[in-house]
Symmetry: C2
Subunit: 340 residues, 2 copies
Amino acid sequence: MSNRQIVLNERPIGMILESTTALRESPVPVCGPDEALIKVGLLSIDPTIRTWMNDAPGYLPPIGIGDVIRSGGSGVVVESNSERYQVGDVVNGMTGWQEWAIASDANRFTVLPRGLGLDLATVMNVLGATGLTAYFGLLDVGAFKEGDVVVVSGAAGATGSVVGQIAKARGARKVVGIAGGAQKCAEVVELYGFDECLDYIEPGLTRRIHEACPSGIDLYFDNVGGAILDAALANIAMYARIVMCGAISQYNATERDGVTNTSMLIMRRGQMKGFIVFDFARRYAEAHLELAAMVLDGRLVHQEHLVEGLEHAPDALNLLFTGGNHGKTLVVVDESVQLS
Amino acid sequence: MSNRQIVLNERPIGMILESTTALRESPVPVCGPDEALIKVGLLSIDPTIRTWMNDAPGYLPPIGIGDVIRSGGSGVVVESNSERYQVGDVVNGMTGWQEWAIASDANRFTVLPRGLGLDLATVMNVLGATGLTAYFGLLDVGAFKEGDVVVVSGAAGATGSVVGQIAKARGARKVVGIAGGAQKCAEVVELYGFDECLDYIEPGLTRRIHEACPSGIDLYFDNVGGAILDAALANIAMYARIVMCGAISQYNATERDGVTNTSMLIMRRGQMKGFIVFDFARRYAEAHLELAAMVLDGRLVHQEHLVEGLEHAPDALNLLFTGGNHGKTLVVVDESVQLS
């Protein structure tokens, strides 16, 4: 029995190519003391993986050449020498792009809750890193208040769509999405229930944000960076909070867009604050309870975009940048791994 | 008796020119009910005046064409129908560029303290808007902590020089200035006691900040914006605080520099926060006490750059952008107005 793995073959410039990664067959890892062996079921495909492929300063070290692509994922425990995990537990953590992974003290997994009536893909979407990022980014980093005018970029994405829905559920005055193309914008309004969605591909975004938010933006949740961040900055209200969550428009860019409106932070006494969801790890349970409740009572609509087969993980990652995905992108490595 | 005034004649593009302003003679204003008439002594020449000349969104409305140039200043009360002011009080507030000003409920002045042994120019520098900006920006907006590595741009300026000295007095691990040219940099180290000063005119600023702050910047106090802000962003430590105070590099610019390193806020969980010193008006007395004490016991070194004559106020403002000033720039309108 072997462990198929996708490793980093060369550092990409721009979009990842055929030659960026390579498929490797390794032996299934041996489960050592205090470790558990995990059969990987689903991989979580997130924009941040692209940043780990660069040899640049980040919040985690770059993936080494020849190393398995770092990635979130879930799987089932098939062997355990650890008190933390029972055989049969479905767990979530950093599996990497491979069929088998090891949970250890250095690489801890969370045991996922059964009996909530949520399937594994839903849990990985709404209760996974993207849903948690939306929750803590909006409520803690952005200090969301009832009555806020909220603008969310990447609004059709796994994080953005959840941000807008939490904001609506908590009493935002208005929730405006920004997304690319008419189809995505329709999805944001009709499926996710935003009040409005602006297509950034059309010209005049700064003016259109002003028309949608004539009294200014109280809270801007930024998933994209670059020119869209700049257009939002031009429209902030007094004491605005800008949540710096991601900069997907820049991850594949060889030259980064410059942001010219940072002085608006002075004029409007605004703040921009960056965060990484891992910083909130001790409080995930609180978010899980609220997010699961919202899914179960229908206030939180979600979609998963399933890509079949470990070997298609690189294509799945590219979908995030071409906009070819709808909802949370997951790669199915083993469909027999299920929560319920 | 007339009131000589400098008014806005046309909106400048870039540096202000001869034609930007005009000298006008008006009657001395009449002191109405609840008002006081002020003979102006010194004008405070601050970069922000340049921003008020633009027809652009700001924290105050633009100066109207034909209106007196808005400006801080000090003077002596020569007539009073207000309980707030006694004849002979030396007061500080928004005088505008003119010889006579009116204090009213809409335009309140602060009565300056006598008997501290500080002369008027010193008080307008260290206890005026620039010193107060340094104090509240560093301690409140930047949440300065003992042991912080602090970097200050515009370090030879009236605000920057005070920021660095307060940081040193309060136990910063290291205080690094950024200024333009060898002479300014020498002043920052030798006169104001910063640990180091980097000349932004020399190439490689990003690398040189890294060399000066190998563990990163904990607190960056930004007076200049643009490319220097970008170089500082590239070097922030975890949980860094960036105080957005001013953007003097951009005030005369017809095209603004783009800031490309905002994603560092995500990687390092940093924050950028803008403010205007007026927001802290209720707490000025607290700052006055500490700043005056620091001047009197020699911990706070200061310089004033006096320009003689109301008619030279426009040239004095340009000095801030050419770097031709040393310390706080003040225009002497009437040298007989004194504090002690």
